[in-house]
């Protein structure tokens, strides 16, 4: 199965710019389907970025993050060729992980 995570990390002087796009329904639990029944909430709760064994960015999300979430941030201390690890867990316990080299 293809990864749900698309991540790009680019070294930019002192900082590394990270952009991530994740495929996930992010169902809020407030929307009903064609039959008028509510679609249960299904959303990523935690998204973690690690570099060199330390967390550089942690997102706690609720149901109001848009479908197929996008997030962008920057951190200091990343080196070209270094590996950035991305992982998420949703409210149903599903997880996914990806590792990308800093460009």
């Amino acid at each position: 199965m293809a990864s749900s995570i698309r991540v790009r990390a680019i070294a930019n002087g002192e900082t590394t710019d990270v952009q991530t796009l994740i495929q996930h329904p992010m169902d809020s639990g407030f929307v009903s389907d064609d039959k008028g029944e509510f679609i249960p909430a299904h959303f990523i709760q935690e998204l973690i970025f690690e570099y060199d064994g330390r967390k550089v960015f942690v997102a706690d999300w609720g149901t109001a993050v848009a479908k197929d979430p996008y997030v962008k941030f920057s951190f200091k201390g990343g080196n070209k060729g270094g590996e950035l690890k991305v992982s998420w867990i949703d409210n149903k316990g599903a997880t996914d992980t990806a590792t990308v080299k800093i460009q």
């Binding site: 900082t15 992010m26 809020s28 407030f30 929307v31 009903s32 709760q45 935690e46 330390r54 967390k55 550089v56 960015f57 942690v58 997102a59 706690d60 999300w61 609720g62 149901t63 109001a64 993050v65 848009a66 479908k67 979430p69 996008y70 997030v71 962008k72 941030f73 920057s74 951190f75 200091k76 201390g77 867990i89 316990g93």
Partner: protein, 124 residues
């Protein structure tokens, strides 16, 4: 699985309660917090919102949409060395203020902007 620190804050139905659950204190407005959000969002399902700040020692940033069923949308922990700048995309049920809260040096600072939503993004 680990429970995010913000777990119960996400379930609150009132923005002030959510902020209290998350931080245990209130934020004061600051012009050092720059919130970028559209004036009008035609599609409330995908509203691009970003924040950046010149404040030092930022440890967390959160996004709150008071008119949503659960106002707390996202909470970001920023370890030392991570820049105090985040861009994301949120859902908005209807026209609402968007509040961003920056935790810096143990204090809370906020910026607020109204986003007019043409078509709501939370259904119902």
């Amino acid at each position: 699985m680990t429970t995010p620190r913000s777990g119960s804050a996400f379930k609150q139905k009132d923005d002030k309660e959510a902020i209290k659950w998350l931080y245990g204190k209130t934020a004061e407005p600051s012009d050092k917090v720059k919130l970028d959000a559209p004036e009008i969002a035609e599609n409330g399902a995908v509203v691009p919102i970003s924040v950046t700040t010149t404040l030092a020692d930022v440890t967390s940033i959160s996004f709150v949409v008071p008119e949503n069923p659960n106002p707390l949308a996202a909470y970001y922990k920023l370890p030392p060395g991570t820049m105090p700048s985040v861009a994301n995309r949120l859902k908005m049920a209807k026209t609402s203020n968007v509040i961003v809260i920056v935790e810096a040096g143990g204090k809370l600072y906020s910026a607020t902007k109204e986003v007019k939503v043409t078509v709501g993004g939370c259904g119902g």
